[in-house]
Symmetry: C2
Subunit: 205 residues, 2 copies
């Protein structure tokens, strides 16, 4: 905490005001899994389904946010930690603003995912484990990254020379090697929709 | 640019889709001015007026974002630059998502404000100079920061021992020492509303 001499401004428009008007709560849907497990595909599928149901939904993913907000971060453990922290802060604000935020980041460390949940605070945080065996992800290799990692051209690649810590208590788990994209999207959506209802708002929002 | 091995995912839902459904464009409204000039007050006033007119609007300001996304940044020139860069990236994404983003940051350097505009890309960027003479701001001193800066308790304080580079071509300028909050909000709003209409969408969105 470097920032000092700052005070909170009471917003005139609250999260509850926005959520009521949108007809649904904001939330952080945190997809985690290996590269090639299908996080971005599922996130974009969910975004589309939610949009068609009149929800405000938005995907933040490793591939697009790293061109902007986190363009000055690499893939070392420290940079991954800061990457996840910034995404979590951004997701919190967007959810406060009324959006169902779908994040698609490998986010390999349990500690970082716990922190993302803590950052969400009073906002619903749903961890979705996008599970597929390493060999399946490596076979898919949509961006030829596993090939490069095996050839030593990429360092610190999750699953090859960097660890992936599997979720211990994810709210939702999908096995993308056993279900189609459509099936996985439908499965997650069914679990999500009841959580986005505004009949009960958390205190303080 | 440290990030490598990343590719863009085509989003299925576009900014234009969201803007059309919301009935207005997303935009970045960038308020700049000295501490105590009234940036946050005006931003929150605009947010409320816009919300009441069924716009999606959200304030990002120095006082609240520095508790979260930018809690690991101080007030040195380098940290101020990174502060503004992150806010600009975040504002761009939120505007893409459909929101009229109202940022209230001192953002004292022209170079940084130019960069924020560049980051917005095809999204409308409206620089609002919240202008009040230093002595008026110092007299208001709502957070006792000028007092502390004069006493040497705060370093690098804009207007005291750090520069403020006045905007050369702000889209909107308000003199908050000559108008009430309500007058300034109304003045800005009148200029803003036509720009938020969706009859003309920028190409590529």
């Amino acid at each position: 905490m470097k920032s000092t001499n700052i005070v909170w401004h009471e917003g005139n428009v609250t999260a509850a005001d926005r959520w009521r008007r949108n007809g649904h709560k904001g939330a952080v849907i945190w997809l985690t899994g290996l590269s090639g497990s299908g996080k971005s595909t599922l996130a974009h599928g969910l975004e589309k389904e939610l949009f068609q149901r009149s929800f405000h939904a938005y995907v933040l993913d490793g591939d697009n946010i790293r061109h902007g907000l986190n363009a000055n971060l690499g893939f070392s453990p420290r940079d991954r930690e800061e990457n996840i922290r910034r995404v979590a802060e951004m997701a919190r604000i967007m959810a406060d603003c009324g959006v169902v935020v779908l994040t698609g980041f490998i986010s390999p460390y349990r500690k970082d995912r716990r922190r993302a949940r803590r950052i969400a605070g009073g906002i619903d945080f749903v961890e979705v484990y996008v599970d597929a065996p390493l060999d399946v992800c490596e076979q898919r290799d949509p961006k030829n990254l596993y090939k490069k990692a095996r050839a030593g051209e990429i360092k610190d690649f999750t699953g090859i020379d960097a660890p992936y810590e599997t979720p211990e208590a994810a709210e939702i788990t999908v096995r993308t090697d056993r279900a189609t994209v459509e099936e996985s999207v439908a499965f997650i959506l069914e679990k999500l929709l009841p959580r986005l209802k505004i009949d009960r708002l958390p205190i303080g929002l």
